[in-house]
Symmetry: C2
Subunit: 135 residues, 2 copies
């Protein structure tokens, strides 16, 4: 492997590291809205295992990026763009869990690892996973 090609892989991994937290928040907001009718900061914090202050700061960033809408002391809503991102994330999440299960990973490990893996699969890899699952 040439240094350049390897460098581009590492660059991509760094890029993924940056976006994955954002995707986790957005996906979680969608989950909470579906499960409980609304996404409250305190619930996001509980599920992510971080403090409310951290959530608050991140929500400000997501709003800046036009992924969510927030009003002070009100729960969180997804913008169209945010909903799109959440749906993509969810789809990836499900494919990864299914693939892991299909190759023999136990239920618990599949769910635990999928949280880390879902953000790192390229479109090509996900397509291959889907094809494999249909086989």
């Amino acid at each position: 492997m040439t240094p350049d090609r390897q460098a581009s892989h590492f660059r991509r991994a760094r890029q993924a590291r940056e976006t994955e937290i954002i995707e986790d928040y957005v996906e979680l907001v969608a989950d909470l809205i579906d499960e409980q009718g609304e996404a409250r900061a305190v619930d996001i914090a509980k599920r992510l295992g971080v403090t409310g202050a951290t959530v608050n700061k991140m929500l400000a960033r997501l709003k800046q990026m036009d992924l969510i809408n927030t009003e002070p002391y009100r729960s969180v809503f997804l913008t169209d763009e945010g909903r799109l991102m959440a749906e993509k994330s969810r789809r990836r999440h499900h494919i990864v869990v299914a693939l892991l299960r299909a190759v023999g990973v136990d239920e618990e490990s599949a769910w635990a690892d999928a949280e880390g893996l879902e953000h790192r699969c390229s479109a090509e890899t996900l397509a291959a996973f889907e094809k494999f699952l249909k086989r």
Copy 2:
């Protein structure tokens, strides 16, 4: 899924995010030593796609952690602990690439994605991958 269980998954993902950069450096040092006889900072920088200054700072951290030995203006050596980590990383890397290839991911995507995925697979998942590959 309970909030607590989900929180622990996210916690684990955050933990992995912290260690993965360290593992990348250590694995790369091992690769360079094997391929070229020595690991020089400039080559590490080229392959990771970061600046020399960044590498230097990171090497100081790795030394602090007893993963490498360095002397000013000399190339980098792995400690026993570092070598162990490098071997574990490599093994994981190979298993992940092999698994991706086995389920139909093309060569290039497999190598590119493995860079991000290898650090996120639990021991259970890797064991399942190996079992699947032997099948």
